[in-house]
Symmetry: C2
Subunit: 116 residues, 2 copies
């Protein structure tokens, strides 16, 4: 493939691939309300701790989540607060028919009281 095309679209493609795994989507939903540790998330998902650690590392590399240490444990939470809104947007998109379109706007949460 032409190098210029790779350069232009690789970064965006990588973000999508970060979201392209059931375990990682599960994690994102779980930590939306409350942050969780690696062990907690691994148990909830039913996979090995090391596997979960690698999934979390991948999400972290794309700045989708962020970890904070508390004693020994690392508690992960969303670093993009509107991620779940985005996911909802993705769902709407896939059901979007020819007479519809999606409008996505970025609001500051502070002053747009009607944002929800």
């Amino acid at each position: 493939m032409k190098q210029e095309i790779i350069d232009r679209y690789q970064a965006e493609a990588s973000v999508f691939s970060a979201l392209a795994h059931p375990t990682r989507l599960f994690v994102l939903h779980q930590i939306n309300n409350a942050s969780h540790s690696v062990t907690e998330l691994a148990q909830m998902a039913g996979i090995d701790i090391s596997t979960m650690s690698k999934h979390l590392d991948l999400l972290k590399r794309y700045n989708i989540i962020r970890g904070e240490k508390d004693k020994n444990a690392v508690y992960y939470k969303l670093s993009i607060p509107c991620l779940l809104d985005f996911m909802k947007c993705a769902k709407q998109m896939t059901s979007c028919q020819s007479e519809c379109r999606i409008i996505c706007k970025e609001y500051t949460q502070l002053r747009e009281g009607d944002a929800g």
Copy 2:
């Protein structure tokens, strides 16, 4: 991984993986304005025709694009008209900070003149 988790998130993950390749993102941008044939797209991207055919087939399977025959050629176009809006939304999302959130709404294109 727990089967229930796979069941719940696999479909959504698959849509993201359909978008998780530079060539496919390139295609989606190319056919946003005008539909193109397999050969045209393969040449633009600089890859083999059969490879492009498989990329298009994947996008077709998730109802993201649609092909229409004209003589021998198949011209592909978006079947989700708001897909590029969604992509823009994805870009905003990745730059979304803690004081911001994204609002996504689905409008009927027909009567919402101020949709853009």
